[in-house]
């Protein structure tokens, strides 16, 4: 069992999916929390960014050439009932099923990520 006691920053990453062009710079800078799909588009780990990674997350945000990545305040966790959904047809879940949560950072986490580079177009 890995420890899950990493301090929570209260911040989470959000992608503007329309703006995102799949450059992949974010995943290179923050492999702990951002994976790329087979077309080069980011898959964000669910949940808040651990405090220890906030600086790297900010760098990833700054590195996006189309300003599609944002670090935003997470809504306060509801102790009992979840907050009511916004009144929209298109409420977008930010978590992606099947995506692993933020892992505790291994000592070598700054190393390179997966083999294929981000797709460019």
């Amino acid at each position: 069992m890995s420890s899950r006691i990493a301090l929570d920053s209260g911040l989470r990453l959000e992608v503007d999916r329309i703006a995102c062009d799949g450059y992949g710079a974010c995943a290179e800078l923050l492999p702990e929390g951002i994976d790329l799909d087979e077309w080069g588009y980011p898959i964000i780990a669910p949940g808040n960014v651990p405090l220890a990674l906030v600086d790297m997350a900010r760098r990833a945000v700054d590195a996006c050439p189309v300003l599609a990545l944002r670090l935003v305040k997470s809504p306060a966790p509801a102790p009992t009932a979840p907050p009511p959904p916004a009144p929209v047809l298109a409420s977008r879940p930010d978590r992606t099923e099947g995506t692993p949560p933020w892992p505790p950072r291994p000592a070598s986490a700054k190393a390179k990520r997966g083999p294929e580079p981000g797709r460019r177009r």
Binding site: C20, A86, V88, T96
Partner: protein, 415 residues
């Protein structure tokens, strides 16, 4: 079955006139009573009928709370979902019910103007609404304050009815979804707080305003009160009907003259919905709360019976191709993901599956959801995943044996 929205003259007679509408339903209540309309809608428990099922009263409240007398109401009659017909039928036959609801909403949320957003393919609906607007223009006995109403017709498009896309089209002529927030209730048409409400929801509100929340709740057989329009297909009598919420799918099958046996699957909620195995479906109540708890959805009231001889794989492959072609082509996971899904599904359906196609389809159905600006990828992958569950033997036979169980032939062989 209780007829409320569709009570009155035969639907085949076309649009009900203003005098007929008024004689049948009576006048709207006076101003003092109308001031309580939002709490009344909340007490009625009316849920939106565009697909998401959000409580109507809460939506009106959120716009009213932001309006400085300059809000906008957009009646959503885009109905781009291929399996849904209920909105166009309602608009074409009961236009004054929709317009009553639109004007009541405009008054309740503090709107300065209103938009009737009607899919350009719904020509009868549009003609009925135009004529009805003319009748109301000349009406001297009207109870509600006048609000300018413009008819806007988006092009034929699956996504044009998504609420941010509707606002985008009205604002800029572009019927593609936008990144939210800001959501329309915060910043919509002309940058003003905008209530985007499905036309059926508005029509229900027009009846609740007249008869009250207790009346609305008199009908309903499971947990959600009221009636709903449903579009039924796959039986001998396909079409639009009004059901008491909580009616079971089996009962609906009888009314629709469905010949299929209890075992054949049912598609609920349309292309954004999911398949349910017939054995589970027949006793299921058509009730948004119950269906949600069972990880299915009432959506916009679509119930499509698949029939015993239908090949679920081929049907879904066609729908996936439609969805890939209907993507607004803005978000990478939707553009590339839906196309990859459609291509793989087509290969499996036609007996040309590559070794890992089915495994990749299963993977994509989880990895693409939630990664678009709108819910297009969620809707398409949800349907795909449900079809792999319900038609698992068919998918496996197509993938591994190039065999179509439904047709008892090689997959891809001419019918």
């Amino acid at each position: 079955m209780t007829a409320r929205l569709l009570a009155g003259p035969d639907l085949a007679a076309g649009a009900e006139s203003l005098p007929g509408h008024r004689a049948r339903l009576g006048d709207l209540p006076g101003r003092a009573e109308r001031e309580h309309l939002i709490p009344t809608l909340l007490a009625a428990g009316l849920l939106g009928r565009g697909g998401a099922g959000f409580p109507v009263g809460r939506k009106w409240e959120s716009v009213a709370g932001r309006s400085r007398g300059d809000a906008v109401v957009l009646a959503n009659g885009a109905e781009g979902e291929p399996l849904s017909h209920k909105d166009r039928v309602l608009m074409a036959t009961r236009p004054h019910l929709v317009l009553d609801g639109l004007e009541l909403a405009a008054e309740a949320v503090g709107a300065r103007r209103a938009v009737l957003y009607v899919g350009s393919e719904h020509t009868q609906a549009r003609a009925a609404l135009e004529r009805a607007l003319g009748e109301r223009e000349a009406d001297r006995a009207r109870a509600l304050p006048r609000v300018p109403i413009a008819i806007v017709t988006p092009p034929v498009s699956y996504v044009a009815g998504e609420e941010s896309a509707a606002v985008h089209f009205v604002n800029a002529g572009d019927p593609r979804p936008t990144t939210v927030p800001p959501r329309p209730f915060e910043k919509g048409v002309g940058g003003k707080p905008t209530l985007v409400q499905n036309v059926e929801s508005l029509a229900h509100a027009a009846l609740i305003a007249r008869y009250g929340d207790a009346w609305y709740r008199e009908v309903g057989r499971a947990t959600t009160p009221g009636t709903a329009l449903a579009t039924v297909s796959g039986g001998q009598r396909p079409g639009v009907l009004e059901i008491d919420l909580g009616t079971t799918i089996g009962e609906l099958a009888q009314w629709a003259g469905v010949q299929a046996t209890v075992g054949s699957p049912v598609l609920l909620g349309g292309y954004f919905g999911g398949l349910v195995a017939g054995a589970d479906a027949w006793g299921m109540p058509l009730d948004p709360a119950v269906l949600r708890a069972q990880r299915s959805a009432f959506g916009a009231g679509i119930v499509a019976f698949m029939g015993d001889d239908a090949c679920g794989v081929t049907t879904i492959a066609r729908i996936m191709d439609y969805m890939a072609g209907s993507s607004a082509a803005q978000c990478g996971p939707c553009v590339f993901g839906l196309r990859a899904i459609a291509d793989a599904a087509a290969r499996v359906a036609t007996g040309q599956a590559r070794q890992d196609d089915l495994a990749r389809l299963r993977g994509w159905s989880g990895s693409i959801a939630g990664r678009g600006a709108c819910r297009m990828p969620d809707g398409a992958t949800g349907l795909l995943a449900s079809s792999i569950r319900v038609y698992e033997a068919d998918w496996v036979a197509h993938q591994h044996h190039r065999r179509c169980i439904a047709r008892g032939a090689s997959a891809g062989a001419p019918a």
